[in-house]
């Protein structure tokens, strides 16, 4: 009798994943991902261990460190139900712009942590000329002051804007799918999933790296979580930031509750098993959902990138806590490669 035959039914998916994902490098399908997300708690350590092995074999031991900052906070005309920056909800977040010297200072501080990525974010449906001009100015000032890769997240783009950002040296563009196609209309009504996909596809076609993320714990089913992972895998983004809902006061999801930590860890393993080669980044909500120990468990369970320090409107773990953890885990910070 083989070892595989001895495994309980619930573990069979892990034996399949070991062969399919670890050895052959093929991500799990949507149906297979449902099996991973449904694993019992006692199978979770094995799932995380396998996801970690997949990450080490297909991505290596490096961890990519990034800082993010909001150049324009709040007052967004869109209605993403999880977002405290929508101007349509009674949220305490006030509209505010960060001036360029402050932005450059933030880029320098980020680089000093060893981070190689600095993402400039604006709470907008898409950029107007004023914002594009600000971004161009900001990019030039940051490039003069510090050596760091610049990414942007400015909402939905036109082809001309994609081309401009590419010309200005933006090497990666973030635009999240957030949730499964079948759940999208439950959480956003002012634009469609297809519009989001369109921007993602333009970014890829222009040769920029696509960063396309997920936000889980918004009331989606396990099947929809698997659907999201499969839809992201089909897009083949360079990076997937994985966020966990932090229910914000005043938003329609304020009473959603914080997702179960073990479900969050199952999702981490599942996303890695769906996308063996993608940069899988711990993003917002990890502190709240998983506590202090969660960062370690995630980094040993498929995650190979972190957002260092604070998020856009909320606070993260101290940068030093994450950086010392990387030293302790013997995971080197990925070095700067000005690839584009």
């Amino acid at each position: 009798m083989t070892i595989q035959a001895n495994l309980p039914t619930s573990y069979e998916i892990l034996a399949t994943a070991r062969k399919q994902v670890l050895e052959e490098g093929r991500g799990l399908t949507q149906e297979q991902l449902v099996d991973v997300l449904s694993l019992p708690d006692d199978a979770l350590p094995a799932a995380l261990q396998l996801a970690h092995e997949v990450r080490l074999r297909h991505c290596g031991e490096d961890v990519e460190v990034e800082g993010i900052v909001s150049i324009k906070t709040g007052g967004c005309p869109e209605d993403c139900h999880f977002c405290s920056q929508s101007g349509l909800f009674d949220s305490p977040v006030r509209g505010v712009w960060l001036d360029i010297p402050e932005l450059v200072k933030a880029a320098k501080e980020t680089a000093a942590t060893g981070a190689t990525e600095f993402c400039i974010v604006a709470a907008v449906r898409g950029p107007d000329i004023k914002l594009m001009n600000q971004i161009k100015f900001a990019i030039d000032r940051i490039n003069e002051a510090v050596d760091i890769n610049i990414a942007c997240s400015l909402g939905m783009l036109t082809q001309r804007q994609v081309d401009q950002l590419k010309d200005w040296g933006v090497h990666r563009y973030n635009h999240n799918l957030e949730t499964a196609r079948s759940y999208f209309a439950e959480v956003v009504t002012t634009h469609s999933y297809e519009e989001r996909l369109e921007t993602c596809n333009m970014v890829k076609a222009a040769g920029m790296e696509l960063c396309c993320g997920a936000l889980i714990g918004m009331g989606e089913s396990l099947e929809q979580r698997a659907e999201l992972a499969a839809q992201l895998a089909a897009l083949e983004p360079h990076e997937v930031p994985l966020n966990f809902l932090n229910p914000r006061p005043g938003t329609p999801l304020e009473n959603q509750g914080i997702m179960d930590g073990k479900d969050a860890l199952r999702a981490i393993a599942a996303f890695r098993l769906a996308m063996p080669r993608t940069v899988l980044r711990y993003a917002g909500g990890r502190e709240l959902t998983l506590g202090d120990l969660g960062t370690r468990e995630g980094l040993l369970g498929g995650i190979n990138a972190v957002i260092v320090g604070n998020y856009l409107t909320t606070l993260g773990r101290p940068a030093t806590a994450d950086l010392s953890l990387l030293v302790e885990l013997n995971m080197p910070i990925k070095e700067l490669q000005k690839s584009l």
Binding site: S70, R94, E102
Partner: protein, 81 residues
């Protein structure tokens, strides 16, 4: 920090506060932790800068960067980390 705006150090001084920095409701600190209606708010303030001025309840301009934050009340100045 803008000219003419005073700087307060770090977190809000509860002894002189009248409002909760997280939810903006009146805050007298409660008789003790058990009766403190803002206990959860104080936990939340570990994960988010104060958004309401604790002196006058105005919504503040909050800026968060990877390694710091500021919350600015047009009347009472800037809280920084």
């Amino acid at each position: 920090m803008s000219a003419g705006v005073s700087a307060h150090s770090d977190r809000i001084d509860r002894a002189t506060s009248s409002f909760c920095g997280h939810c903006g409701e009146p805050d007298d600190g409660g008789a003790g932790p058990a009766s403190d209606p803002h206990l959860r708010c104080r936990e939340q303030l570990e994960f988010e800068p104060p958004r309401y001025c604790t002196h006058c309840r105005r919504r503040m301009k909050v800026q968060v960067t990877p390694l710091g934050w500021t919350s600015q009340c047009t009347r009472h100045g800037v809280f920084v980390q």
